[in-house]
Amino acid sequence: MRLLRIVPDDTRFDFMRFRRVSFPISAMLSIAAIALYFFHGLNFGIDFVGGTLMEVQTKAGPADLAKMRSTVGSLHLGDFQLQQFGAPNDVLIRISEQPGGDQAQQQAVQRVRDALGDEVDYRRVEVVGPSVSTELLAYGTIGLVLAIVAILIYLWFRFEWQFALGAMIANVHDLVLTVGFMSLTRIDFDLTSIAALLTILGYSLNDTVVIYDRIREMLRRYKRMSMPDLLNVSVNATLSRSIITHVTVAMSLLALLLFGGQAIHSFTATMMFGVVLVGTYTSVFIASPILIYLGVGSARMGGTDEPEARPETPAATPAPSPPSRRVRARR
């Protein structure tokens, strides 16, 4: 059977050459994303700004949005949105936070329920009061920062500090671009989005770590190879894995996107962007070349380009390497 090869063996792309393009592009995109965040803002869901979200389904035929809009509007509940959601008889009603604390939110829901009456099924009702929403936003932000710091510390222990810093810059870059994407597409930014951001962080670190692992291995083996060459070899060696993994992750996400329903739609869309699109780009074009700027390998001196005689397995590999490894360096 002929097996599928997405990436041919022994690719020798000069990825590092692109750093003069990729860094300015990434810097520009990051600035654009930050600008979007500040000037365009995020479409904060009720989790973070409080308010009411109701998903209703009309019992008889498609929903008459205009009529419902006027019914809800007559209650004078301030800002509200009504939109079709999936099927023609599904309607999403969003009511902004009512002045007057937690109790006022509850009264607003009751009034909407009374006004719409029995003509609709209430598929989902979410009411978040001001005290909870403030906390959720704070916890979400703390969580993201905490995760980044925890991962940074772990990487610092496992690698050198430059790797930890490089990984952090790369992954913050991922998060910033994703937030920009969420601002641009007006995707609801709620608790699930924080979960999405953390997963993106986890995945893209996963990727970065795989390449860094290889770079570290190469650094130990080739003492004299120039940094750009060494990084190129490392990225090329892991390229096939990167692509195949991202294809499978993309497949899983695609399935979630197509069949997973509305409830996790924004979650998967964000992940698709953050993991598949940005994550792949970052680990190749940002995470690896940034090591050059952070001075990895600049302190290497002497030695030969021959593999060393002692077993040069990475510290974490317990098994002794077979002697045949020595042939390997020249290819």
């Binding site: 996963n206 795989v210 974490a316 077979p322």
Partner: protein, 529 residues
Amino acid sequence: MLFFTRWKAAAILITALAVCLCAVPNFFAESTVRNWPAWAQRHIVLGLDLQGGSHLLLEVDSGAVRKEQLQSVADDVLRVLRQARIPFTGRAIRGNNVDVHITRDTDVDTALSKLRELSQPMAGILGTTGQRNIDVNENGGLITLAPTEPAITERVRQAVDQSIQIIERRVNELGLVEPTIQREGADRILVQVPGLQDPSRLKEILGKTAKLDFRMVDQAMTVEQAQQSHPSDSEILEGEHGEQYLIEKRVLVSGADLTDAQPGFDQNGSQPIVSFRFNSTGARKFAEATQANVGKPFAIVLDNKVISAPVIREPILGGSGQISGSFTVQQANDLAILLRAGALPAPLTIIEERTVGPGLGQDSINAGEHAAYAGAALVIVFMFATYGLFGLFANIAVAINVAMIFGVLSLLSATLTLPGIAGIVLTVGIAVDSNVLIYERIREEVRTGRTAINAIDAGFSRALATILDSNITTFIAAAVLFYIGTGPVRGFAVTLGIGIITTLFTAFTLTRLIVAYWVRMWRPRMVPI
């Protein structure tokens, strides 16, 4: 890397099988599982977003608890100083203190020592904690009493505990199935009721403090006069329709003395009422009060609202009576429930509500299942196309991996939410990645001219280090998510975290075992990837 002793291989297989078997109870109806031994009954609980139901987060009004605490300190001050016959002025609650000014300088020391007796040492788990519940200070005849922070915290904690008990009684009285009621943080209570579609009535019932008092109507002056003169021992309260009454502050009998309350109808059989019965102390107090006040009106006050103010026609000695307001049947029912369950120590506010109807829940389960099947199908075909026989091995490992996730979830009786399903689907991605890492490494090793067995061995040993590193970073993200997340997000973190652990297990043992077995059986010259 490819050598397994017999007992090690057996241990790996038994572990995998045992964990997978834990998932079995999920495939049987609950009624069947109930007859199984207790250890075999553990199964996955569907989250409210999947089975439908109501989630209410309530906050105990700690401000009210604090105020009540200050009021009781102020009452104590009054009692102590009166008993000691020490003249004082300006007893008042200011901020978080109770202030009192001792009139004669000579009395200050006596007053101080008497008031210091109010301050009790706080009891901890291991005897006294060395802290007291009230700080007493004196400055030029002005004595200040302030409840200490630990005392306030303790009082709030007690209020939350009491509230939980009362909520439990109220929810059970409503006949709701399998409610979960638990403390959240310092002053919050989470109430989850599966299957409840319209929580309006539940919210109504939980939102009432249900503090019931029987008090006399103050006939010494009219409401208008009281509005001018502000009498110290009476207050103006409103009735159901906004009418005003002047009611004495002194409580004849309180709702705490009720033993039972039932909804019913009056003699004509038309007007819904609530009939109640007092316990013996309540009955005695009520009998004495009614004997002394025949012909005068008294008031039934619920949550500072006058429900009715009937005139006492004759002494009520039997210890039972009835409340007739202008109730609907439902209101009479609810009031009876509230009276039976008792009053909350402090008002509760609903600060978060999430309700999912059963239709949406079922849709979500279906969507999750479809997505899982579609994702699995795509990945299985892709892996087989890419790695052939080894792809098949990977698929077997991933399938066992997913079965193990369900096993662990069952073992923990974890809650499965829709984001949780997403977490499982993503784990499939991670699990596949571990296989990809191994196989790609083997391909590389083959290219360097190694023999098949050598290449496989080196591929495993080098890839596993990478797998460990990359999974630990993802696991850290999942752990943080679990720690800070609530509800659905936590569900996602749980499945992702468990998925990473099972992925590490399968990558380090099962996949290796399968390949090792294959190598032993076929002694391959070439690696078929």
